[in-house]
């Protein structure tokens, strides 16, 4: 079982049938020094033939952890840069709404 946390740490857990216990096969960190955290949220996908683990953690980067299909041993991760879908150049804009009486919260409207 591959587990990825929001803080970019991961581990691979397995059940050891001899020890009758859950063991950590490997663990580590996947944080990059640069990159904008993925807008759509973190995504992790595993190749059905167990050759690679793919991660989308930062916009424009697809991180690949190669894996040995027989032993499950992980190799060093690398990033593939791809052309991201162009973002709209407009920035989200917040505009303060009309001032209301003091005991009612001020209304905010947001335009995208």
């Amino acid at each position: 079982m591959f587990i990825l946390t929001e803080r970019y740490r991961f581990c691979v857990l397995a059940f050891d049938t001899i020890k009758q216990a859950i063991v950590t096969k490997s663990n580590g960190e996947l944080q990059d020094r640069i990159g904008r955290p993925a807008e759509a949220g973190q995504m992790a996908v595993i190749d059905p033939d167990c050759r690679v683990i793919g991660l989308h953690l930062y916009d424009g980067l697809f991180k690949v952890i190669p894996m040995d299909p027989t032993t499950g041993k992980l190799e060093e991760a690398f990033n593939i840069r791809y052309a991201p879908a162009r973002r709209s150049s407009r920035l989200p804009l917040c505009v303060k709404g009309p001032e209301l009486t003091s005991d009612v919260p001020t209304a905010w409207r947001s335009f995208v």
Partner: protein
């Protein structure tokens, strides 16, 4: 980037990517991951301008391969090969947003889909001669709003929910059991297909039967502490869950009990838990005294009523327990029985001289 999935049955690891462009149109592209070059190469197929609400890709296992594209109005099946023609099939549905899916069959011919209102649907990929020819979608019933759907076996499905209580549900093959049974007798080999057909013919029924629910207080967006009974024991009222699964819940300090097993036993006069052997980690015998008899239960993974040679079953016990040297002791209205470890053989017995024994008291090594 909306969704990424690995495709099945590809020579090199291949991903399908669902993304949105600057005009808010959504497209699907496939890429091969080249491990040595550490870069992407264009994959076998791509599809521009899929439905605008598309938000989930479901990879279909071999032998078919390809992906299901789940949108808000349609479900499409897409597949293709390098240079070949793209295969695509699609069906319409009532406007909704699917939030979870789960595979039913290993060959990926049925998938459960859960929408944002907690409705459970099933999409069926019908194939003939190795080709997917048609998609069908049926609504099965209502559950908590699903975050994950895991098909277990025999129609059991675990519905994991972040907004409500998680559930263990069972999908009924049909609203009308008799119909399925008579048909499956004559077409036993096609039973699975028949069950599918049933799903098609009966539209009204709810196929979801809730077997178990797993309490979930989250997400708690607000709460307050109240002391309604004014006894100094505050209760917390929480705003739990969200959307249709939102609820007010009262949390009290206390102890909750879960029933693990229950056996009906009228008029119990005494109850003792014993170890069969001294070295046992846990008590393995439960002895219940009833009027005029003593019943013995073997407790383990399962409960089982049985007899043990050393015990007198036809008299009411006044006491049963473990005593020194791993031996067991049973005191009935007529006698005191010392039983060897294991409970099968009687070591020695003291008969009461006359009349019934009514009371007894003892310390571990001394009986009075």
């Amino acid at each position: 980037m909306i969704d990424i999935k690995f495709l099945h049955g590809c020579e090199r690891p291949t991903i399908a990517v669902l993304y949105q462009d600057s005009k808010e149109s959504r497209h699907i592209k496939t890429y091969q991951v080249l491990l040595r070059e550490k870069e992407f190469e264009d994959g076998p197929w791509s599809q521009g301008n899929v439905e605008q609400g598309s938000n989930i890709l479901i990879p279909i296992p071999e032998p078919h391969g390809g992906v299901l594209v789940i949108g808000e109005l349609t479900i499409g099946y897409l597949n293709g090969s390098a240079g070949g023609t793209n295969v695509s099939k699609s069906i319409g549905m009532r406007n909704t947003i699917m939030v979870a899916y789960g595979k039913v069959d290993a060959d990926g011919s049925r998938f459960l889909l859960g929408d944002y209102q907690g409705r459970l649907h099933i999409v069926v990929l019908q194939h003939s001669e190795g080709q997917i020819v048609e998609l069908t979608l049926e609504t099965l019933g209502n559950t908590s709003i699903a975050t994950t759907l895991s098909y277990l076996d025999n129609g059991f499905v675990f519905v994991g929910s972040a907004f409500g209580d998680s559930q263990l549900i069972r999908l009924q093959p049909s609203a009308d059991e008799a119909y399925v049974n008579t048909h499956s007798l004559t077409h036993r080999r096609h039973r699975r297909r028949l069950v599918l057909i049933d799903w098609h013919y009966t539209h009204s029924g709810n196929y979801v039967q809730v077997h178990d629910t797993f309490l979930n207080l989250g997400p708690i967006v607000d709460f307050c502490v109240v002391d309604l009974e004014r006894q100094g024991q505050g209760q917390i009222v929480t705003c739990s869950g969200a959307y249709k699964d939102g609820s007010l819940r009262i949390i009290r300090n206390g102890i909750g009990l879960n029933v693990a097993a229950a056996i009906e036993l009228p008029a119990i006069r005494g109850l003792w838990a014993l170890k069969k052997y001294e070295m046992d980690d846990y008590d393995s015998l439960l002895i219940a005294a009833q009027v005029g008899e003593t019943r013995i239960f073997h407790v383990g993974e399962e409960w089982e009523e049985g007899s043990l040679g050393g015990f007198e079953a036809n008299l009411q016990s006044l006491f049963c327990g473990n005593v020194a040297h791993g031996q067991l002791l049973q005191i009935t209205s007529r006698s005191v029985r010392l039983i060897a470890a294991g409970g099968e053989t009687l070591v020695t017995e003291w008969q009461a001289p006359a009349g019934d024994v009514r009371t007894c008291s003892l310390s571990l090594s001394l009986v009075e």
